[in-house]
């Protein structure tokens, strides 16, 4: 009988060996983490098709410098152990860059990525301190971190409130986890700098109950402006609650994870959320040449365009993430045309990305060995007349405040 167990274990091992196909020659592998079933499936089910479609588009046009790209997706249900397992799988398949998904995952993998010298990206989440490319050589936020989002939100509020924040009251309502608390130190700094009163309102997980906080913001604190940093189902609840107490949504700016069609629809549709300002790290809407190319690619195959394309905020972010990985690989291949690139080459490739805009869908990032964030650019889009309407172009704010905090975090 004990033999049976051994045989069984060996069989399981063999099944695994058999099931994992060896990577073909000169195929460049990107490791892609997804969450189509876990806590943030509202994001993953739309983000991941966007990534795959862009990779398919690149391959349909002959690949990058003649090399095909293979995006190996592993779904980790937003749990850490499967995330670690997926990383090892990617490493085994020879991935040269990892598209990490999830704040706990980028933390869990930070040490491994650096040891194995494979660049990993954390677009719009993860640690803001990782913008420091010297301290974290293999972590690339590649989009506005929570600190940059915080400064941008204050800058936007300042413009909305007539150019000065002196004596104004700003409420910061946030999901009570590390990601939610991360921007507070930056906001506090800005409060002293700009002379406004900041009050923070924590929403405990799972973030579906915030009646008291919203009532406080609207009727006791009487905030002049609200900055909201919520995840998952919480943004929709915040819109509903603010609406219920009669707080004008045109005085609310949401961080990037409360800014998608899915959040607005969950709150009851665009009519309910009229006026709500959202922050974006990728372009919104369907009017970008790359999206047209994807639609044409599907047409050529005789298939309708995927329905995920209609949810443009997350889909476009997926395209952006895949595009930046591909661009880094392109830079690496330019330096090493034989295709034998490693994570080290792709890291250098990321650090050469500059003015790659994909027709406006991607902000004009400038990633350097020092700055892995690429400038922390965002756009503000407002819910207006049943759709998102662009309010500002790409901008970032208070670079010296950000630099101070990044430096302080790096010296810890």
């Amino acid at each position: 009988m004990r033999l049976r167990l051994i045989v069984l274990l060996v069989l399981i091992g063999l099944a695994g060996v058999h099931a994992a196909p060896a990577a073909a020659n000169h195929e460049i592998v990107i490791g892609m983490q997804c969450d189509r079933t876990g806590a943030t499936q509202i994001v993953g089910t739309i983000l991941c098709p966007g990534k795959h479609d862009y990779i398919a588009l690149v391959n349909s046009k002959g690949g990058v410098e003649g090399h095909k790209i293979k995006a190996l997706e592993v779904d980790h249900e937003y749990k850490v152990p499967p995330g670690v397992e997926s990383y090892e799988r990617h490493k085994k398949e020879g991935a040269v860059s990892i598209d990490v998904y999830g704040t706990p995952h980028i933390y869990a993998l930070a040490a491994k990525l650096t040891e194995d010298r494979i660049p990993g990206t954390s677009p719009g989440f993860g640690s803001a301190a990782a913008a420091d490319g010297i301290r974290y050589p293999y972590i690339f936020p590649i989009a506005a971190t929570y600190w940059s989002q915080g400064t941008a939100a204050v800058d936007f509020a300042k413009k909305q409130l007539g150019g000065s924040l002196k004596g104004k009251k700003i409420a910061y309502i946030f999901y009570d986890n590390p990601a939610g608390r991360e921007p507070i130190e930056v906001l506090e700094d800005l409060a002293t700098l700009e002379g406004f009163t900041l009050r923070t309102f924590a929403v405990p997980p799972p973030g579906v109950e915030m009646g008291a906080q919203v009532l406080d913001i609207a009727q006791r604190f009487r905030a002049d402006y609200v900055i909201a940093h919520l995840f998952g189902g919480a943004p929709a609840v915040s819109i509903k609650e603010l609406k219920r107490v009669g707080y004008p949504l045109r005085k609310v700016i949401a961080f990037v994870w409360g800014s998608a069609e899915a959040n607005i629809e969950a709150a009851g549709g665009f009519a309910v959320a009229e006026g709500y300002y959202t922050m974006q790290f990728a372009g919104v809407g369907q009017d970008y040449p790359v999206l047209k190319e994807i639609r044409e690619m599907y047409k050529k195959q005789g298939k309708p365009a995927p329905k995920e394309m209609a949810s443009t905020v997350f889909y476009n972010r997926g395209v952006l993430i895949a595009a930046i990985h591909v661009e880094a690989i392109r830079n690496a291949l330019k330096a090493k045309p034989d295709g034998k690139i490693t994570g080290v080459d792709v890291k250098a490739g990321f650090e050469k990305i500059s003015n790659f805009t994909l027709g406006g869908l991607v902000p004009p990032l400038k990633i350097t060995p020092n700055d892995h964030e690429g400038g922390g650019l965002v756009q503000i889009w407002q819910v207006k007349g049943g759709k998102f309407e662009k309010t500002t172009d790409w901008f970032s704010a208070y670079p010296d405040v950000l630099a101070k905090h990044i430096k302080a975090a790096g010296s810890k």
Partner: protein, 355 residues
């Protein structure tokens, strides 16, 4: 563990208490040791060893929880929090005092044991579901404290990077090195648990589980042993947390949330309450099943469907199959994989002369 005898032929208490009732049991353990210590690490790719590492971490945690839930009969939904206590204790020691890993592992375990004993105090008055809710409160309070007290969590990020454990001057960083590191602790944990449950303490735990009033009447100090069960179980959890921290290189509170506690409960229920082999099998089952399902679906899914559809289908189908298989195994044998294994063994004991 994996042996088969032809009758009860014991003539002394020593024989009855022996860890290896038959020579063949000793050989089996030897063979398994060779398999796990030599054959697997030498033949498998690092990726499979990394899966092994996740299994080993789960095995230690599951053994600890089984001492409390399976042997002492005290339900706990706070296992994940006790792991985080160990993890943050070790991370703080490692970064502030630069202390070596054996000290950190011991300190993490002891700190978790102390906290566990405190969280276990309600068990003196309440039982069953009520106790489950009390430990749930423990889980949430510990999570909140780690999340908000920056002295413990090392900043708003609630994550502390720890240096790799060193053996002499070699840092243990690769999955193969960590495999041996973790496996050594698994062996320690299994031996410790095997010996614990056949000692006076273990028998007291079982007496409390079976009927606590009767246990008190025969002279078992319920107060002491219930808290001891919590402390020992949390010690295992703390050590698991420290090992997990060393495995990842970082302590982060989001790795020890309530779903982790639930996962560990699932492991011991599927594996078999009150059984050491059950803890091991349950930890393996819950950790490996999703991976095996995914790998096989990746291999065969492409034959019938388009790649994009497969991508979307895999995670969903995997969850469904995972749930269905757990139900299947529990319906086939409510007492878990351990019992299933024993049933198979008992059948073959008299095979082919079954009557």
């Amino acid at each position: 563990m994996f042996h088969r005898e032809c009758g009860v032929l014991k003539t002394s208490y020593e024989a009855d208490m022996a860890l290896y009732p038959l020579p063949i049991a000793r050989w089996t353990v030897g063979a398994l040791a060779v398999l796990f210590f030599v054959v697997l690490p030498l033949t498998l790719h690092e990726y499979y060893l990394s899966i092994g590492n996740l299994v080993w971490i789960a095995v230690i945690g599951a053994l600890g929880l089984n001492i409390l839930v399976g042997y002492t009969g005290q339900v706990s939904i706070g296992h994940g929090a006790f792991m985080s206590v160990g993890a943050y204790t070790a991370a703080n020691l490692a970064t502030r005092l630069d202390s070596p890993w054996p000290v950190n592992i011991l300190a993490g375990g002891l700190m978790a044991a102390a906290v566990g004993a405190i969280v276990g105090i309600p068990s003196l008055r309440i039982k069953g579901l009520y106790l489950a809710i009390a430990t749930l409160a423990g889980q949430l309070i510990i999570e909140w404290i780690i999340n908000h007290v920056t002295f413990i969590s090392g900043g708003v990020q609630a994550s502390i990077e720890v240096p790799r454990p060193r053996l002499g001057t070699i840092p243990l960083a690769s999955q193969r090195q960590l495999y041996f590191f973790l496996l050594a602790f698994v062996v320690l944990a299994i031996i410790a648990t095997l010996n614990l449950v056949r000692s006076r303490v273990g028998r007291a735990f079982i007496a409390i589980r079976d009927q606590d009033i009767a246990a008190e009447i025969i002279g078992i100090d319920i107060f002491r042993y219930k808290l001891l069960a919590f402390a020992i179980s949390s010690f295992y959890a703390g050590v698991t947390g420290v090992l997990y921290t060393y495995f990842l290189g970082i302590a982060n509170y989001e790795q020890f949330q309530i779903n982790v506690s639930i996962d560990y409960l699932a492991m011991i229920i599927v594996g078999g309450l009150g059984s050491i082999l059950g803890s091991v099998l349950g930890a393996m089952f819950i950790t490996l099943l999703p991976i095996v399902i995914r790998l096989s679906m990746e291999a065969f899914g492409g034959m019938f469907l388009e790649p994009q559809t497969v991508m979307n289908l895999i995670p969903n189908l995997r969850l469904m199959m995972f749930g269905a298989l757990i139900i299947f195994f529990l319906v086939v044998e409510p007492e878990g994989l351990n019992r299933l294994w024993r049933n198979i063994r008992n059948y073959f004991r008299i095979w082919p002369f079954a009557y």
